[in-house]
C-alpha cells in the first residue's frame, strides 16, 4: 500500500514511497529495486553533506568509500565536535546477545509504541533491521564498547525497555561513536574523496528547475559568503531544541539549515513534537546558559520522590530542612505510586509530566521549587557504594562539579529539560524531502520516533541513516538524473541566493537597536517553555503566538549587534540563528494548536483522561503534519501524510 496524499490546490504531492509487501521484506525488496550508479560514474557526482554529527559523518564517510566526491560542512572548528559527541547513555541494537527475547520485531514494536503510533511502520522496521549492522561496523572501527570479562560485548537495559539491548562506552557513547565515524571520515579526507569545510555555516539552499542544486555558506572566520554546487544536498544538521533557549543541546545547535530549506519549499514535519527529558540538573540562576543532562540510566537505581505535603516542601525550599530530615512516611515516591509496574522506569514523557505536576502542586524541592529528588540511598544500602560508583561514578562526579553537592550523601535534585526534537524536515522512505535532491538525515528529519523517542535510539537512527540507508537511496536519485544534471555556481540561482544572504546580514547589522540576540533568545525560550513546553492548551498557545509575533517584530527593529560581517563574529552567528528560531517558534505553536490530542511529548491539557494521562485521538490525528511555508508572516499550509498501520494494532499506552 502506498501512502499518497494529493493536494489539488498547491500541487504538492506527499508520497512516502513506503514499499509494498510484508513489513520484514520491504527494505530488502526496495534495495533491490533501487537504481545503481555505475562504479566508474560515481566520481562524476558531487555530494554536499551539511553537518558532521553521527548522521553527517557516517554519510560522508560511506559515500566517500563508494567513490562519490563529498564536501562536508560544520560550524565547529572540527567535525569531531558535533553535538552527537555529548550523548551519554548508549545505542540500541536488536542483537539479542543477552538471549533475553529481543528481536528486530521487538525493537520495531517498542519504537512504534514508544512513539505513540505517530511514526511510519516501514521506516521504523528498517531502522530496527540495520541496527545490528551498526554495532558490527562500529566495533570494526575500534569503538571501545563496554565488555564482559569473557570479552563479549556488554549490554544494559535503558529507558524502560524490558530487554537489555543498549550498547555503551562508559558514559560517553556518543563521543566514541562519533569519533568512530570521524575516523572513517578522516580516512576519506586522506583518500581525497571528502573535502572538509569546518567553521562554515550553511545559510541558504539553492533550488533551480525544481531540484536542490547546492548551498550558500558563510566562512565564519573571514565572513566570506560562498556558493557550493552539487548533485544532491544532505542536511544532517541536528535538532532545534535550542528554540527553548535552555536545553541539553550544545550552545551552537540550531535550526538554520533546515529552516532556510523549509523557506525554500521543503515541508517541516511535526514541528511541535519535542522531547523533555526528566533527569536534568535544575536551573540555578538567571545567567544560566544551558542545562546538563543526567543520564537516564540513573533511573535504574535512583528513586524519584518529593515531600508528601506542600508544607514540608516549603520548608525545604526555604532551606530550613534537608532531604534527610524528611521521614519515610512523609515522602511521596510518585512514579512508583502511580505506575506500580514500571515505577521509576516509565518513559520520558510520562516521568517529565509527573515531575512537573508535583512541582505545580507546590511540592517541588530546591529554592525555586522546581526540582524533585532522585535518591540513591536505597540502592547504596542494597548494592554498596562501590557498586553504585562503578555504574555511575562519572555522572555523580559531573553532578558534584556543577551543583557542589555529593549525590552519595544527599539525593540529587533533578528537573525536566528540553532534550530532543522528534519533528524535523519531512522525508520519504528514501530520506528525501519533497524537494528532489534534498535529503535530511539524523535528528534533522522527522522520520522514526513519532511523538516520543525512546532512549538510545537517536544514535541508532543517525548511524542507520548515514551508514546504511543513504548509500542506497541516494544512488537511485543520482542514477535517475545523471552526472550532467548540475549547475555551476556562476548560475543566477546561486548569485540571487548569495545576494539574499548578504542582504539579511546587512539588515541585521544596520538595525543598531538596544537588545542583544542573547536577550531575544532568552525571551523566546521563556515563551516556548511556558506555553509550548511540557503541557499545552489552546488558550496559552494562542497567547504565545501573539507574543512570538511581537518579539519577532521587535527583533527586526531593535536588535543590537556589534562588529562587522567580514570577520569572526559570534554575536552575528547567534543573531542569524535566533532570527530563524523566532519564525520556527510560531510554527511549533501552530502545529501544537492544530493537534487536538495528546500524544507522546505533545500533551494538550484539554485532551487528557480523568487521572491526567494523555488521550490520543487516532480517528482524527493519525497523520504526520507537514507544513508548507507560504511567505513572510503568512500562515503556513498544512499537508497530511496519513499513517497506515498494517502490522501493529493501535492501543493506548499504559505503564500502570
Amino acid at each position: 500500500m502506498i501512502d499518497v496524499l494529493e493536494e489539488q490546490e498547491t500541487g504538492i504531492k506527499l508520497d512516502s514511497k513506503a514499499p509494498e509487501g510484508p513489513l520484514a521484506e520491504k527494505w530488502a525488496k526496495h534495495k533491490f529495486n533501487l537504481k545503481l550508479v555505475n562504479p566508474a560514474n560515481k566520481r562524476k557526482y558531487e555530494i554536499i553533506v551539511v553537518g558532521t554529527g553521527l548522521a553527517g559523518a557516517s554519510a560522508a564517510a560511506a559515500l566517500g568509500e563508494l567513490g562519490y566526491n563529498v564536501k562536508a560542512f560544520c560550524f565547529q572548528d572540527s567535525p569531531r565536535r558535533a553535538h552527537s559527541i555529548a550523548a551519554q547513555g548508549g545505542i540500541n541494537a536488536a542483537k539479542n546477545y543477552q538471549n533475553d527475547g529481543d528481536s528486530v520485531f521487538r525493537l520495531f514494536y517498542d519504537t512504534i509504541k514508544g512513539g505513540d503510533y505517530r511514526a511510519r511502520e516501514s521506516n521504523v522496521h528498517r531502522l530496527a533491521e540495520v541496527s545490528v549492522n551498526i554495532i558490527d561496523q562500529c566495533v570494526a572501527q575500534g569503538v571501545p564498547f563496554a565488555r564482559e570479562y569473557g570479552g563479549a560485548l556488554a549490554n544494559r537495559s535503558f529507558g524502560g525497555s524490558q530487554v537489555s539491548r543498549t550498547f555503551y562506552a562508559r558514559g560517553q557513547t556518543g563521543q566514541q561513536l562519533l569519533l568512530g565515524a570521524y575516523s572513517a571520515l578522516s580516512r576519506q579526507v586522506a583518500n581525497g574523496k571528502v573535502k572538509l569545510f569546518p567553521r562554515t555555516e550553511m545559510l541558504d539552499l539553492v533550488i533551480e528547475g525544481g531540484k536542490a542544486r547546492g548551498i550558500i555558506t558563510r566562512n565564519l572566520v573571514t565572513g566570506k559568503i560562498e556558493s557550493h554546487s552539487g548533485h544532491a544536498v544532505l542536511l544532517c544538521t541536528g535538532g532545534y531544541g535550542n528554540v527553548f533557549y535552555l536545553s541539553t543541546n550544545a550552545m551552537g545547535s540550531n535550526v538554520t539549515a533546515a529552516w532556510r530549506a523549509h523557506k525554500k519549499g521543503a515541508l517541516f514535519g511535526n514541528p511541535c513534537f519535542t522531547q523533555i527529558h526528566p533527569t536534568c540538573i535544575p536551573v540555578k540562576g538567571k545567567y544560566q546558559s544551558k542545562l546538563t543532562l543526567m543520564s537516564e540510566s540513573l533511573r535504574n537505581d535512583g528513586r524519584v520522590w518529593v515531600p508528601k505535603t506542600k508544607e514540608i516542601a516549603e520548608k525545604v525550599q526555604k532551606g530550613e530542612i534537608k532531604a534527610k530530615d524528611i521521614k519515610e512516611e512523609d515522602r511521596d515516591y510518585f512514579l512508583e505510586r502511580r505506575y506500580p509496574s514500571f515505577g521509576n522506569l516509565v518513559p520520558r514523557d510520562v516521568a517529565s509530566r509527573n515531575a512537573k505536576n508535583v512541582c505545580d502542586e507546590g511540592r517541588g524541592v530546591a529554592a525555586s521549587g522546581l526540582a524533585v529528588y532522585l535518591d540513591f540511598a536505597d540502592a547504596i544500602k542494597r548494592d554498596s557504594k562501590k557498586v553504585i560508583e562503578a555504574k555511575y561514578g562519572n555522572l555523580f562526579e559531573m553532578y558534584e562539579k556543577i551543583v557542589d553537592e555529593d549525590p552519595y550523601e544527599t539525593p540529587m535534585k533533578i528537573y525536566p529539560a528540553v532534550h530532543y526534537t522528534m519533528g524535523g524536515l519531512w522525508v520519504d522512505y528514501n530520506l528525501m524531502t519533497n524537494v528532489p535532491g534534498l535529503y535530511a538525515l539524523g535528528e534533522a528529519n522527522f522520520s522514526d520516533h513519532g511523538a516520543n523517542r525512546l532512549g538510545a535510539s537517536a544514535l541508532m537512527q543517525g548511524l542507520a541513516d548515514g551508514y546504511f540507508v543513504i548509500p542506497y537511496t541516494l544512488g537511485d536519485y543520482l542514477a535517475t538524473i545523471g552526472p550532467a544534471d548540475k549547475i555551476p555556481t556562476t548560475h543566477p540561482a546561486f548569485k540571487d541566493a548569495e545576494q539574499t544572504v548578504n542582504d539579511t546580514i546587512s539588515r541585521m547589522l544596520s538595525i543598531k537597536g538596544d537588545k542583544t540576540a542573547e536577550e531575544f533568545h532568552r525571551q523566546l525560550g521563556h515563551i516556548m517553555w511556558e506555553y509550548c513546553g511540557m503541557a499545552r492548551n489552546a488558550e496559552g498557545l494562542a497567547k504565545a503566538k501573539k507574543m512570538i509575533q511581537d518579539l519577532r517584530k521587535e527583533f527586526w527593529t531593535n536588535l543590537r549587534l556589534t562588529g562587522s560581517d567580514m570577520e569572526l563574529n559570534p554575536a552575528l552567528e547567534q543573531a542569524s540563528r535566533v532570527a530563524d528560531f523566532l519564525e520556527l517558534g510560531e510554527l511549533m505553536v501552530d502545529d501544537a494548536l492544530n493537534r487536538n490530542e495528546s500524544c507522546g511529548g505533545h500533551f494538550r491539557e484539554e485532551y487528557s483522561t480523568e487521572d491526567g494521562e494523555a488521550k490520543r485521538d487516532d480517528e482524527h490525528y493519525t497523520y504526520v503534519a507537514a507544513w508548507e511555508y507560504k511567505g513572510p508572516n503568512q500562515p503556513e499550509k498544512l499537508h497530511k501524510e496519513m499513517l497506515k498501520f498494517e502490522t501493529v494494532k493501535l492501543t493506548q499506552r499504559s505503564y500502570k
Binding site: 564517510a61 572501527q141 563521543q175 569519533l179 550544545a250 548509500p471 569572526l568 559570534p570
Partner: protein, 250 residues
C-alpha cells in the same frame, strides 16, 4: 563576588594582540567560567564594545571546543576539568584572573581567545583510523576482546582533542594527543594490522605541523582534562621505534 579580568584581545591573525582589563561585579559562585564570560560579553555589547570571542559548544566537558589559558594553566586551576566545567567557586572574591588563548606555533590565533586547531584533524587524517569500509564488518562478537584491553582502549579514546596538552607543554608538543589515538587502536585487535604504519604516519604529520619534541616532563598529562596517562606516550614510542626498525629492515 567581584572579579578583575585581564583578557587577551586580538582582532585577527594579522594584528598584534594585547591584554585588556575588565571588571565584573555580582559574579555568582555557581556560575560557570564561560557563563561569567557571557555576562561580560553582554555588558560589552551594551556599551557598544565588541564581545570577547572564545570557542565553546557543549559546555559539558566533552566536545573539546573550549580552550582558555587561565592564570597560566590550560583550563584553569582544577584538575580533570575543562574550561566550561570550571565554576567561579574555584576563585575568590576580589581575584584578578588572567585569560589567554592556547599558545603554540601550530595553533595560530584566529581572534581573541580562538585558535586554529586543524593541525589535530590532519594528524588523525594521517592514520588515526582502522581501514574498514562500511558494510564489510564481521559480527561484532566474532572478535572477543578481554575487558582489561577494552578498558585500556577506552582510557585512551577519551581524549577530547582540546589541545590543552600542547598549551601546557613548554615545547608545544602534541605527543599526548597523538599517542592517545595510536595507543587506543594499537591495543585493539581491529587496529593491530596497521599499527606500525599508523604510528609512523601520524608522528610524521605531527612533526610537519610544527609541534615541538616531547621531553617527557609530564605537564601535558597533569593538565589534560581527561587525565590521559603518560603510559600512552611510552607505547607510542615503542610503536614508533618498532615501525622504524621494520621499515629500515625492509
Amino acid at each position: 563576588m567581584n572579579i578583575a579580568l585581564k583578557v587577551w584581545r586580538q582582532k585577527n591573525s594579522q594584528t598584534p594582540g594585547k591584554m585588556v582589563d575588565y571588571k565584573l561585579s555580582d559574579v555568582s559562585p555557581d556560575m560557570s567560567f564561560l557563563e561569567m564570560f557571557d555576562v561580560l560579553n553582554e555588558e560589552l555589547s551594551h556599551k557598544g564594545e565588541e564581545p570577547v570571542a572564545f570557542d565553546h559548544d557543549c559546555r559539558e566537558g566533552i566536545c573539546g571546543m573550549c580552550s582558555m589559558y587561565i592564570n597560566g594553566r590550560p583550563h584553569g586551576p582544577e584538575t580533570g576539568t575543562t574550561t566550561c566545567q570550571l565554576h567561579m567557586r574555584s576563585f575568590n572574591d576580589g581575584d584578578t584572573i588572567v585569560v589567554e588563548p592556547w599558545r603554540a606555533r601550530a595553533f595560530p590565533v584566529i581572534k581573541d581567545l580562538v585558535v586554529d586547531r586543524e593541525a589535530f584533524d590532519r594528524i588523525i587524517q594521517a592514520g588515526g583510523y582502522v581501514s574498514v569500509n562500511t558494510g564489510s564488518a564481521p559480527d561484532a562478537n566474532d572478535i572477543l576482546i578481554p575487558r582489561e584491553i577494552a578498558d585500556e582502549a577506552m582510557d585512551a579514546a577519551q581524549c577530547i582533542g582540546c589541545g590543552a596538552c600542547v598549551a601546557a607543554c613548554k615545547n608545544a608538543s602534541a605527543m599526548l594527543f597523538t599517542a592517545a589515538k595510536i595507543s587506543q587502536l594499537a591495543v585493539l585487535p581491529q587496529g593491530h594490522a596497521e599499527h606500525q604504519l599508523r604510528a609512523e604516519r601520524m608522528v610524521a604529520q605531527m612533526d610537519a605541523e610544527g609541534f615541538g619534541a616531547c621531553s617527557f616532563t609530564g605537564a601535558c598529562s597533569v593538565e589534560c582534562p581527561k587525565s590521559i596517562s603518560l603510559d600512552h606516550i611510552a607505547r607510542l614510542n615503542r610503536e614508533y621505534l618498532g615501525a622504524k626498525l621494520a621499515s629500515n629492515n625492509a
